[in-house]
């Protein structure tokens, strides 16, 4: 029995989005209760769905800016070191001349930053990207497309721990444009993006028989090729061999970037022929003639069409949205759509939403921290317009700033764009449940700063509606204050799970 009406509206917004967005007179549950599936499907049809309405630096611009910044910082340090050495290391005899020559330290100390509160440039770049991403999640009406972006971004993750400059732009350039497009196009964009090539060590991989390989006695790095097969497309233990990995790595030699230290054009993708292993390569039983960069594009195109890829993606998508152990019938439907549509991700998203299995009333998925924070903000977020349901105001004029939101994610063990490994954040309850008690501190902090003028039961109704159990209702109803009621609401099983 699949839920209907308002219950389905609440289920759908939590499962496919970030929960209802509460604003005065705009309880999205009621707005979509007549046709919840239709409302969620309609999110896919919005013009420019997936794009962010922001003007942020491209990954190459960001990479160059960070490279320049680091070079300047390094120069400042060198000057300071020199000055310190001059001041300490000079012999007493030479001090005689000090009166005539002012000490070097006076000039070498860099002037203080104009605005000490601003984080250093690399962090600023990440914060601006993070801010745009949070805004999109918190302000979206339905949120399904944003959830898809988050899913694919995690599937094809890179990490700011390795390269802080490009991580946000990478998502905008390689994930968002294709989130409702073709899987093969996203795959091609991702694997040729400088962010990915640097993250998985392909920028310096070279064929043993390539020009540079011979001249420099260096060779292959298999990392990218292996992770493409294991994580991005076919899936682990799907039948490829070590020879396939090696050969594919040879195919990908030359897929590199221009060093961001190069002024003017650094940080861009380049196919460097001198790194590329010459000759045909056999991958998964098929021979790919050496056509330079096209050789790799053809392997990727075949991988995107592969049956194992369809299975792998179908399982991950169902696991992410529906259940840790999703019903095989749902996985089969998704794999079939992937296959028959040529990896059309919009068709795949539609199959997900239209399948009855996706509307099972059991809500066992534990929201990972990032989603929980977004869902929380959709209930609590300060919005400049006076119509906001709850107005969070802060002494420091913007308490819930992006730095704090990112810190929440750190506290909860899911720092934004910093997954510990290329397989991304795990998508099962076991990965996140131990961190739930830490969420209480954050829920309490947000609630205690919220200016709550609405009845907590209205908040409960607007956010969970028919999903709330009698025990949950009673818990909220019995809270000793609105602050406590709000903190408890954010921590109810119905709000933690979806």
């Amino acid at each position: 029995m699949t839920p209907r009406g308002k219950e389905a509206a609440a289920l759908g917004l939590h499962r496919f989005g970030f929960g209802p967005r509460l604003r005065r007179d705009n309880y999205s549950l009621d707005a979509i209760a007549t046709d919840p599936r239709g409302a969620i499907l309609a999110d896919l049809e919005r013009p420019k769905a997936g794009y962010l309405p922001v003007d942020l630096p491209s990954s190459t611009q960001a990479a160059r800016a960070v490279s320049d910044f680091r070079a300047e910082e390094h120069a400042k340090q060198k000057l300071a070191q020199r000055a310190a050495k001059d001041a300490n290391g000079t012999a007493p005899a030479s001090r005689m001349s000090d009166a005539a020559h002012p000490p070097a330290t006076a000039m070498a100390v860099p002037p203080p930053l104009a605005d000490n509160k601003k984080p250093p440039l690399p962090q600023q770049i990440v914060q601006n990207e993070a801010s745009a991403r949070f805004d999109a999640a918190v302000e979206s009406t339905i949120g399904f497309v944003e959830r898809l972006v988050w899913f694919w971004s995690n599937h094809f993750c890179i990490s700011a721990d390795k390269d802080v400059a490009t991580v946000g732009a990478y998502e905008r350039e390689a994930i968002r444009p294709y989130v409702l497009g073709r899987f093969g196009d996203m795959l091609a964009a991702v694997e040729s993006h400088p962010g990915m090539l640097f993250y998985l060590d392909n920028v310096h991989s070279m064929g043993g028989a390539s020009i540079d390989g011979i001249n420099r006695d260096k060779g292959l790095n298999e990392n990218l090729a292996r992770e493409i097969l294991e994580l991005h497309t076919l899936g682990v233990r799907s039948g490829y061999s070590q020879a396939d990995v090696t050969n594919f790595a040879n195919v990908l030699t030359g897929w590199s970037w221009i060093d961001p230290a190069e002024p003017g054009h650094g940080g861009e993708f380049v196919f460097n022929k001198r790194l590329h292993e010459p000759g045909d390569q056999v991958v998964l039983g098929k021979t790919y003639p050496d056509e330079g960069v096209a050789q790799g594009r053809e392997v990727l195109a075949d991988l995107a069409r592969h049956q194992s890829t369809a299975q792998h993606i179908a399982l991950k998508l169902a696991r992410h949205f529906v259940a840790d152990d999703p019903p095989p019938s749902l996985v089969a439907k998704l794999a079939k759509t992937f296959d028959s549509s040529g990896g059309n991700l919009k068709a795949l998203a539609k199959t997900l939403v239209t399948a009855d299995e996706s509307w099972a009333p059991q809500r066992k998925k534990l929201r990972p921290p990032s989603e929980w924070i977004a869902a929380t903000l959709r209930v609590a977020k300060a919005t400049p317009e006076p119509s906001s349901l709850i107005d969070l105001r802060t002494p420091a004029d913007d308490w819930l700033n992006i730095g704090r939101l990112m810190n929440f994610q750190v506290v909860l063990g899911q720092p934004l764009w910093r997954p510990p490994a290329p397989n991304g954040w795990l998508d099962t309850e076991a990965a996140w449940i131990d961190g739930v008690p830490r969420r209480l501190g954050i829920a309490n902090e947000i609630a205690s700063r919220a200016r709550l003028e609405v009845d907590p039961l209205d908040l409960l109704e607007g956010s969970l509606g028919p999903l709330a159990s009698a025990e949950t209702r009673q818990t909220i109803w019995r809270a000793e204050s609105r602050t406590q009621a709000f903190a408890l609401l954010l921590m109810t099983p119905e709000f933690l799970r979806r």
């Binding site: 002494p395 829920a443 200016r451 025990e471």
Partner: protein
């Protein structure tokens, strides 16, 4: 504790407390050579008035609460107020104030609210309206606004506002501008909040319940060696910090003169612990907050009134889980050097079953608005008409209690 930074004008509307300020004192008070201070502390969650100030001399008292009754011959002796009433032993500072004629206890006191919802009850307590209704202003803000618009506050620098705590209570919101200030550390989630959550998880989600229980064990282990961080001491530090900071602002020569803040945690349904338990810890924290106010006020203490008020009381009888449920009448506590103190004011309704409100709660015999109107009238010189129409609308028939301040 060092004095906090001067609050900025930009820091509008935040904090669970706020202080109004004007450049000079009210004109009438000024003419008399006075400079009155008034601090309101909202106790959210419904304070058990009978456990705070026990009617130990009432022959029906022990029958009502049994082992949970504070009595004159309790093991931890209560603090005697008179031949009838005894103060909870967790509040020695309030007792000293009482003995120095600096505290008044009003018992069997309640707002006009007769239902039992915290949220509506708190709204009514703070809005000052006669019945639950949406309100965007509180009686304390309207008090200042009325004084200012009637030219009763000397002109000069515009009235400023200031907040103590992370969110601004309704009592202080409204047309008069408010400055806010927040202690650096917002109160952490209370044990009570965690316990409520655990109760819910045990009924609804055992996996989450297990995780919460395991975590609680770890936290308990961590805290064995560090008493300062022990959960029981946490409200104590926050209460004293918030109230003490409010006093520092109020004590300043050109500082604010009226303020409010909220202290949570009084909803004691389970294991109330009137002596040595949870309520005793909370009352001790509150007592510490009062001591901090007195200390930080310095010489201004003699011109100060602090009103501690709560949305309603708790059941007269103990419930099935050694706690008390939502009730009706309770105590209002007044402290400050400006008071004609050392008195318990009570038109005592009695504790026989027939005396109780709906056979369960202490019956209200004094309207809290009468007490607050009495303070506002005699301490701040707010006029009767303003009190009856704008501060507490529709309260014409509620006469201010005379002689509280003097």
């Amino acid at each position: 504790m060092s004095f906090p930074h001067a609050p900025s004008r930009r820091a509008m509307l935040a904090g669970s407390g706020a202080l109004f300020a004007w450049a000079h004192m009210p004109r009438l008070a000024h003419a008399e050579g006075r400079d009155p201070r008034f601090l309101t502390i909202i106790l959210r969650g419904a304070l058990d008035g009978l456990a705070t100030v026990a009617p130990a001399g009432d022959p029906d008292w022990i029958a009502l609460r049994g082992d949970n009754a504070l009595r004159f011959d309790s093991k931890i002796p209560p603090l005697k107020l008179d031949s009838f009433f005894a103060l909870n032993p967790a509040m020695p500072n309030l007792h000293h104030m009482f003995q120095a004629n600096e505290a008044i206890i009003v018992h069997a006191c309640a707002t006009p609210y007769r239902e039992r919802s915290h949220f509506d009850g708190q709204d009514l307590l703070e809005s000052g309206l006669p019945q639950p209704a949406p309100s965007d202003s509180g009686w304390l803000n309207r008090t200042l606004h009325g004084l200012a618009s009637a030219g009763r506050v000397e002109a000069g620098e515009r009235a400023r506002a200031l907040g103590i705590g992370p969110a601004l209570p309704l009592v202080v919101r409204g047309p008069a501008p408010v400055l806010t200030w927040s202690p650096q550390n917002a109160p952490a989630a209370s044990e009570d909040t965690a316990r409520r959550l655990l109760d819910l998880y045990r009924h609804a989600d055992l996996k989450l319940a297990n995780v919460m229980e395991e975590n609680a064990k770890l936290v308990a282990m961590e805290h064995t060696d560090d008493m300062r961080k022990a959960p029981g001491n946490q409200p104590r530090a926050y209460f004293a910090d918030a109230a003490g900071t409010a006093a520092k602002f109020l004590a300043q020569p050109d500082g604010p003169r009226i303020g409010a803040l909220a202290l949570d945690g009084w909803d004691t349904h389970n294991n109330e612990g009137i002596a040595g338990g949870r309520l005793a810890q909370l009352l001790g924290s509150l007592d510490g907050a009062l001591a901090a106010v007195k200390a930080n006020m310095g010489p201004a203490w003699r011109e100060t009134v602090v009103a501690l008020v709560t949305e309603f009381g708790r059941t007269a009888r103990i419930n099935g889980t050694d706690g008390t449920d939502h009730g009706t009448a309770t105590v209002a506590l007044l402290a400050g050097g400006a008071l004609k103190g050392g008195r318990v004011i009570a038109d005592w309704p009695g504790l026989k079953p027939a005396d109780l409100y709906e056979d369960r709660d202490l019956k209200p015999t004094t309207d809290l608005r009468a007490v607050l109107k009495g303070v506002l009238k005699d301490h701040l010189r707010v006029e009767d008409r303003a009190l009856a129409e704008t501060v507490f609308p529709g309260s014409k028939n509620i006469k201010p209690v005379a002689g509280l301040v003097g």
